[in-house]
């Protein structure tokens, strides 16, 4: 049986190659998702750690502990702590970075052996810090020796530079403790061998506050332990600091929960709970887990359609294989092979294919996930930043699942076919029946379900936003609805397509040239065979288009929103000094800092002064105070730096600014002044700033949107629900506001030159000694918006899904057509013998490609556009941030569609080229002979 199998596989090598390709892709894709997810989570985790380091300047991955080992106790604490320090790394499963021990006596009086009376007043701490020699530079003298003792038996010690200044001790001097005695009761003599300064490298060894070592003399750590701990520990009171630092680079996403649980155990339950306080990395891990829970389910949901398509692909190909092998199976069966034998034969074949598939698929999957990690936008890669991919157990499980699925796809048809004997086969061939889905109206059912989902989500979109802001992941039903919509509409198209073709055929029934005639008839009679590949094509195109729109819309709306809320390129607000009265009470007036520096800054392209007060208010008649955002602007400068799209406000942005400029006491107010409060143009309003000073202004126009202004203010309440408030805005002329409300601290809005880095700005601010209370850098915010892990992950998975579907679709399409031509070799032979020209054969192929391929592609685009229009606005809600204020705009990038068209057109052209080559090379006589045996 094994021999027959191998022979059979060789005989059908193309078929088996396709199946192998399917198996490889199945494993690669299945493995790629968890690998990518794992790598993405790892990156997210590292980002969290790096962010912590950047913002605090401290090392997050450390556990600091302090104990005091008291005199007259057994001294067991120190040895127990040392034991703990020795096991903590292996226990937490982390890589040791530095285990820092610092043991110190409290201050004790000393006297110098050099008879210096001034030294007699001094109190010092004798201490040791582990691995000190590696973290200091000696300013003078030497580090203490390995032995730690001089030849005379004096303890060698070193002191810090500040200690030297503070204590006034000299290198080479020997000091003796007045009261503190060695364990044997002898005097403790300390010989100062050198002065050190702390090495300023970023290994976080030095975490002590300034001046910590001012009175400290440090000795050899081993000698300290030998002399004062162990059996002697009971004789001294020693303060011990421990810092177990570990590498956070080696912490992976799947270590997080263990690390968290274990650390919690240390600080809550273990016998060390009193000394272990919650370490800094717990916050980092918590913040990571919050993000993780938000994106993990979403990423899983997004990959489901791709995996389903993969299985469908295998089913399709293996279905084709059995279709071609039906004769053989029935013959084998008629000759007495049992069903089990036939099944076993196919099982072995499937096993072989799947195992080879896994062997190639796993490395390919790793490669693919690396590629994914470089995704910046849909189908946009940036290879400067690659992902560290490693093989995980989850990936192994996925691989197993993929192999199982592959086995099932390749053997289930065998069970079905092994029932068929040659007699049934002949009977079956004579019958043609409608597929099940058509009889059951599955297409209509799917569209109805999707429509219901659409309706439901549309009317509950606020709940959706709330859920997502609460850290819940995307509702699977939402994404499912859009997928069902695509499948349903695709099936509906397949139901209608034959009628459409029949109609066209009937229009020119008698006049079709032989080539068109044959292709029409072929499609009318055998079109059903093509339905799976057509559905594939439709799904590839429409999912591709839908995904591209989802990715673009989400990213670009988030970016546009950030751009709008930030305003100009750079917004800063300096700390102003308030002028005080002689008695020291505030006057409400300030010293205005010079703003010339903003003009001369090397990256400046001009600046403007903006009053921006978030806590202003108006007292409208009959209402309580209403909070407003109050702005005072130089209209011309402000207009040159900011922008609001015309369709947001209805009129050109500059027209509003010009109206404001034209009236000295004019104000632009938000549209809700008109819609909610009933004001109209020309009305006078009294408004106040947060200091309570008020003035009046005349409304010159209403705006719905204005740079930095949120029409709705969403807040997440403590119970998790979302509160939505109206935001009110009053914009006045800068000079009028200064005159009426006084010169209060204003913001500087600045345009920066292209390519200005954050470091340049930061260094400039540092060099100018500017103290800021507000610093907003639009390019940084935009980068943050774009690199949001949820967006990144979504883009990655969607891009991967698309790449996989396009490969499957291309391969599937090609295989389908090669099979289809192989099957029809005899017919082509007859056609050629009857004098079919090559051009006509070509024409026939083109026709078939149009009926099957082009129509599906067009349907795919239509369905993709429809699904995007329906579901992207809802889906976008699930991704939007709490600060999203701009109306959502559906963004389809023509470049994405072009790429899609290009890829599909490429696949179809390759297909036509291969098929043409096949047909032209076909030997007519041989093709006809083929039918003879």
């Amino acid at each position: 049986m094994l021999g027959i199998m191998l022979q059979k596989m060789w005989h059908k090598k193309w078929m088996n190659f396709s199946l192998l390709l399917g198996c490889i892709l199945l494993v690669a894709t299945a493995v790629c998702f968890p690998l990518y997810q794992d790598a993405a989570y790892n990156r997210m985790l590292q980002d969290e750690f790096n962010h912590y380091v950047a913002s605090t300047g401290t090392w997050p991955a450390q556990i600091k502990m302090t104990i005091v080992s008291r005199k007259d106790k057994t001294g067991g604490t120190i040895s127990s702590m040392e034991k703990f320090m020795n096991t903590i790394y292996s226990d937490l499963h982390v890589t040791q970075k530095d285990a820092v021990y610092y043991y110190a006596f409290s201050q004790n009086g000393i006297h110098s052996t050099m008879n210096r009376p001034d030294a007699d007043e001094l109190n010092v701490n004798l201490a040791m810090k582990s691995s000190l020699p590696e973290h200091v530079t000696m300013l003078s003298g030497e580090m203490y020796s390995e032995r730690g003792l001089t030849d005379d038996g004096e303890i060698e010690v070193v002191m810090s530079q500040s200690g030297m200044v503070k204590l006034g001790l000299l290198v080479g001097e020997t000091v003796v403790f007045d009261a503190l005695r060695a364990p044997d009761g002898s005097e403790i003599k300390m010989h100062i061998t050198g002065v050190f300064i702390e090495d300023d490298n970023a290994d976080y060894y030095w975490q002590e506050a300034d001046g910590f070592f001012d009175t400290v003399l440090l000795m050899n750590d081993n000698l300290f332990r030998e002399m004062f701990t162990g059996s002697n520990a009971g004789k001294y009171t020693i303060t011990c600091y421990y810092n177990a630092m570990f590498e956070y680079n080696d912490i992976f996403a799947d270590d997080v929960s263990y690390l968290k649980d274990r650390t919690e155990y240390y600080s809550m339950e273990s016998s060390y709970k009193s000394v272990v306080s919650t370490p800094a990395y717990m916050d980092v891990l918590q913040s990571y887990e919050n993000k993780y829970s938000r994106i993990s389910a979403t990423l899983v949901i997004l990959q489901v359609p791709v995996l389903i398509m993969l299985a469908a692909f295998l089913l399709m190909i293996s279905g084709q294989m059995y279709e071609m092998e039906r004769n053989e199976i029935s013959v084998i069966k008629s000759r007495g092979s049992s069903r089990a034998q036939i099944f076993r034969m196919y099982l072995y074949q499937a096993l072989l294919l799947n195992i080879v598939g896994a062997g190639v698929g796993v490395p390919l999957g790793m490669l693919m996930s690396k590629l994914l990690g470089s995704t910046r936008n849909f189908l946009v890669f940036d290879f400067s930043e690659t992902l560290n991919v490693r093989f995980t157990t989850t990936a192994l499980i996925y691989m197993g699942g993929a192999i199982l699925l592959g086995l099932m796809c390749l053997t289930i048809p065998a069970i079905k076919h092994s029932r068929v004997s040659i007699v049934n086969l002949k009977q079956q061939k004579a019958m043609r029946k409608k597929p099940l889905w058509e009889k059951l109206f599955i297409d209509v059912v799917l569209i109805a379900v999707a429509g219901y989902g659409f309706y439901n989500f549309k009317h509950n979109s606020d709940k959706l936003t709330e859920a997502v802001l609460n850290g819940k992941s995307l509702d699977p039903l939402l994404y499912l609805s859009s997928s069902l919509m695509i499948v349903g509409a695709g099936l509906l198209f397949l139901r209608l397509q034959p009628y459409f073709l029949k109609l066209i055929y009937n229009i020119g029934k008698r006049f079709w040239k032989p080539a068109s005639f044959v292709s029409f008839m072929e499609n009318v009679k055998n079109g059903r065979k093509q339905q799976l590949i057509m559905l594939f094509l439709i799904m590839t195109i429409s999912l591709g288009m839908y995904h591209a729109t989802v990715a673009r819309t989400i990213v670009e709306n988030a970016m546009a929103n950030t751009e709008y809320l930030d305003g100009a390129d750079l917004m800063v607000k300096e700390v102003w000094t308030e002028i005080l009265t002689r008695e020291g009470s505030p006057t409400g007036e300030y010293v205005e800092p010079s703003t010339d520096k903003y003009m001369t800054a090397p990256f400046s392209e001009g600046y403007t002064k903006v009053y921006k007060d978030d806590e202003g208010y108006i007292s409208a008649s009959g209402t309580n105070r209403i909070k407003i955002m109050l702005m005072g602007i130089h209209t011309k400068e402000f207009g040159g730096m900011t922008w609001v799209d015309m369709d947001l406000n209805g009129d050109h942005y500059y027209n509003y600014l010009n109206k404001l400029a034209g009236t000295e006491n004019g104000i632009l107010v938000s549209a809700n002044f008109r819609d909610k409060l009933g004001y109209k143009v020309g009305d006078t309003i009294s408004y106040s700033n947060s200091l309570g000073k008020s003035t009046e202004g005349v409304i010159v126009d209403f705006v719905s949107y204005f740079p930095g202004y949120s029409p709705v203010i969403r807040k997440q309440l403590s119970d998790g629900t979302l509160s939505v408030e109206e935001g009110y805005l009053v914009v006045s002329n800068f000079e009028y506001m200064r005159k009426k409300l006084g010169n209060t601290p204003y913001e500087i809005w600045m345009n920066t030159k292209d390519g200005t880095t954050e470091a340049e700005i930061y260094n400039w601010i540092k060099s100018e000694n500017i103290r800021l209370t507000k610093y907003v850098n639009k390019s940084v915010d935009l980068e943050d918006a774009e690199s949001d892990p949820l967006l990144q992950g979504t883009n990655g998975v969607l891009t991967l899904g698309f790449v996989v579907t396009i490969i499957l679709c291309g391969v599937g399409y090609l295989i389908y057509w090669i099979m289809s031509i192989r099957e029809r070799e005899l017919v082509f032979g007859v056609l050629r013998a009857s004098g079919f020209h090559k051009g006509e054969l070509f024409q026939m192929l083109i026709n078939e490609q149009i009926f099957c391929g082009l129509l599906s592609v067009l349907a795919g685009f239509g369905i993709g556009a429809l699904t995007s229009a329906m579901f992207v606005p809802i889906l976008q809600k699930a991704y939007q941030s709490i600060s999203q204020v701009l109306p959502m705009e559906l963004i389809t990038n023509p470049a994405d569609i072009q790429r899609l068209v290009l890829v599909v057109a490429g696949v179809m052209l390759i297909c036509i080229a291969v098929l043409t080559g096949m047909i032209l090379r076909m030997n007519v006589a041989k093709a006809l002979k083929l039918g003879e045996d």
Partner: protein, 227 residues
Amino acid sequence: MGKNVIEVENVSRCFQVPGGEFWALKGISAAVPESSFVILKGRSGSGKTTLMNIIGTLDKPTKGEVKIDGEPVKNLSDYKREELRRKKLGFVFQSVSLIPSLNAFQNVEFSMRMAGIKPGPERDARIEECLKLVGLGNRMTHMPAEMSGGEQQRVAIARALAHRPKLILADEPTAELDSAMAARVAQLFGEMSKKEGITILMTTHDVGLMGAADYLIELENGERIDA
């Protein structure tokens, strides 16, 4: 006796095979006059099919010349050969050679489309006539899969003759038929050659059919052995 429809002059055909050359035909000459029914006879491997393919312009001789309806085909372009096939030739093959997606009527109609015969009542009438001629007047809308092997072969014959070709080449058309049916087909060919004025060249090794033919050409090992 009119002119010759087939003129084969000293035709040889050599195939490259592993280990050298194989001469399937060795200097065959033959002439077949108009509206005659000729049987090409010989054991398998005798070169029958090779000769048929060369006469049918599906293959080219290594040496020698073939004239169809007086026209030498040696130097014709592929396109011209295809035109020749669709206008002047009709084929009947050993096994099922109908287009499976077309019914009996459409299969016959197809060869007329190929020959460029204008659609209309005349064409439809001719199709019916041909199908009736082969005894399938009542099965015109049946699909190939719904017919027996003999019925399918008869549709193929109707198809081969519908566009009134000069010559029908039938390669072992009776191989899969029972003897009664085979005799009917041979008889049909004999009748048609007279009635329609079509020359028919048929290969077979069924000795029982020889009587129906006007002439016999017998091949053995690539050489003509009849008188």
